[in-house]
């Protein structure tokens, strides 16, 4: 089981390297903010973590939801704002 998931991880790194090497320098800032928004995927874990058991875990989960949402909403919005500006002649 541990091996399966490591395989997924390693293959994903290769996919990442492959597609991101093709991003031109002009788009490096939107790439950073966009990939940053994607790292907000922690929100999935954060939502699960808020499950009610009255313990400290729930509260850590809530803070995580807030932080991850800032990342997701802010990241995608600001990337869109930037990409809107890239125009041709």
């Amino acid at each position: 089981m541990d091996i399966n998931i490591l395989t997924v991880f390693i293959l994903a790194i290769f996919v990442g390297i492959e597609i991101i090497s093709k991003v031109p320098p002009t788009l490096h800032t939107p790439l950073m903010s966009g990939s940053n928004a994607i790292s907000g995927i922690a929100i999935v874990g954060a939502i699960i973590a808020t499950r009610l058991d009255g313990g400290m875990g729930t509260w850590l989960g809530l803070i995580a939801v807030i932080f991850a949402t800032v990342n997701v909403i802010g990241g995608f919005m600001v990337t869109d704002r930037m990409l809107k500006m890239f125009k041709r002649k």
Binding site: V23, L31, S35, I38, A42, F67, I73, M85
Partner: protein, 468 residues
């Protein structure tokens, strides 16, 4: 097989396709939308597929976080984009660490009995929890230091103190020791958990404060990568493929950018993190020994040189961002183009404070992206260029990088502005660049200095051009 897992895979596919579309400005915006749909699917799937959720808490969290993120994203100036990305990186890292922490706290009792957790052996589980908390927390504090430096709350100069490296080594050693102790079945998990959080937070600070302002592109890329690694580690903790794949993508992305930035400065990552270039004492000596005589022109005289030129290459640097001069340069360029002159922009990989910083600024000013050329494309163009206009850039055009082995920037690929007929350099003062070295370019026969704030200088230049 739980169907929810299929939706996580779908989300991951949308992330990959979205990033793929970032390979061209034409498709990039659609790619970002695609990735955000992927995120939406992942969130909805989680809400529907998980049991025992507290929806009030979740909605409250999403509303608060969404408001903060939304307001930031809508209000931020393009010149402040590096700070923004830095702080978002920090939030991402913190979220991952918090999720891992929450899961760990819930499973402490189980850990001591040695049963499998989330399908993982206790050893593997502990290692990934610690990794997630370590990388996530370090990203959080490191990003805040980077934010502070970029925003000017903290000095942009490298902050170093004696024995800094020894402290870092001790912190790292303690982390490894604690991890080993816990993995081998050590007790008192809760207290060691706090110790790990504390050590990680401290290391985020001590590893970031010695890095100077101009090295920020490397730091931000690296922190970007870390936020991905933290998400992936959290994915291992929860055995969630969505997190693992997305985290790996972001980790790879940040790593590639870090590598490009390091190459742009001809420095190794180790050298950037531990080298503390830009320290005053390091650069004195050689630089001061050579006195440079410069020619200072008024904008009126500069206007005449532009009038006689056919081909102009603009070299923007961090000074352009500071002066918010992106619109002013576009107006000057448009005027020159209306006179039949060719205008191009030379973008050095490490110009500004983050990868692609200059491109975003110039795009904001409506400068078409076809005119923005990277280092390899533009360097041959300087040969038949009449005027190279250097705006608030310094180290990236310093010819010392080619020949002066004692220079801290030796070997760094530079823009060959000195090959053009005339180089017009705009700076506020004769202060040295970030690397703290005098730029011999300023004293070259074909170099002319026009002092002043970039924005004011360009506005005056435009006036003078129109009056010719």
């Amino acid at each position: 097989m739980e169907y929810s897992k299929l939706f996580y895979v779908l989300a991951a596919i949308l992330f990959i396709l979205g990033l793929k579309k970032l390979s061209h400005p034409k498709t990039a915006r659609g790619g970002n939308t695609m990735a955000s749909i992927g995120m939406f699917i992942a969130i909805v799937t989680t809400l529907l597929a998980s049991n025992n959720l507290d929806f009030t808490l979740i909605i409250a969290g999403i509303v608060i976080g969404g408001l903060i993120g939304g307001v930031f994203a809508a209000k931020i100036e393009m010149t402040q984009m590096p700070q923004m990305v830095a702080i978002f990186n920090g939030f991402g890292g913190a979220a991952s660490a918090l999720v891992a922490g929450a899961d760990f706290i819930r499973n402490i009792d189980k850990l001591q009995t040695g049963v499998f957790i989330n399908g993982l052996s206790p050893t593997f589980y502990l290692v990934v929890v610690i990794l997630s908390i370590f990388v996530g927390t370090l990203t959080f504090t490191g990003s805040f230091i980077a934010f502070g430096k970029l925003q000017g709350f903290i000095s942009g100069q490298p902050i170093v103190f004696p024995g800094q490296q020894i402290f870092n080594a001790i912190f790292a050693f303690s982390m490894v020791t604690i991890t080993a102790y816990l993995v081998m079945g050590g007790n008192d998990l809760v207290n060691f958990f706090y110790a790990i959080v504390f050590l990680s937070a401290l290391m985020g600070i001590t590893l970031t404060i010695p890095i100077g302002g101009a090295d920020m592109p490397v730091v931000i890329s690296l922190l970007n990568s870390y936020s991905g690694v933290a998400a992936a580690a959290t994915g291992f903790v929860l055995m969630n493929n969505g997190l693992i794949i997305s985290g790996a993508l972001v980790g790879a992305s940040g790593l590639i950018l870090t590598n490009i930035m390091c190459k742009g400065m001809n420095r190794s990552l180790t050298n950037v993190i531990f080298g503390a270039v830009g320290l005053k004492q390091e650069s004195s000596g050689d630089g001061e020994a050579k006195q440079i005589t410069v020619k200072s022109y008024s904008t009126e005289e500069a206007a005449m040189i532009f009038d006689a030129a056919d081909k102009v290459i603009v070299v923007p640097g961090y000074g352009l961002a500071v002066a918010q001069a992106q619109h002013a340069i576009r107006e000057v360029a448009e005027f020159l183009e209306s006179k039949g002159k060719k205008v191009l922009y030379a973008i050095h990989p490490v110009a500004g404070r983050m990868p692609g910083h200059m491109n975003v600024l110039l795009a904001e000013a409506n400068i078409p992206y076809e005119q923005l050329k990277d280092l390899d494309e533009i360097n041959p163009e300087f040969e038949d260029c009449d005027v190279a206009l250097v705006l608030g850039a310094n180290d990236v055009v310093n010819p010392a990088a080619r020949h002066d082995k004692s220079s801290p920037i030796y070997g760094m690929p530079i823009l060959d502005v000195d090959k053009s007929r005339t180089v017009i350099i705009n700076k506020r003062t004769m202060n040295t660049g970030f690397a703290g070295i005098q730029n011999e370019l300023f004293g070259f026969d074909n170099s002319i200095m026009v002092f002043g704030d970039a924005k004011e200088m360009l506005q005056q230049l435009l006036k003078d051009l129109k009056e010719l």
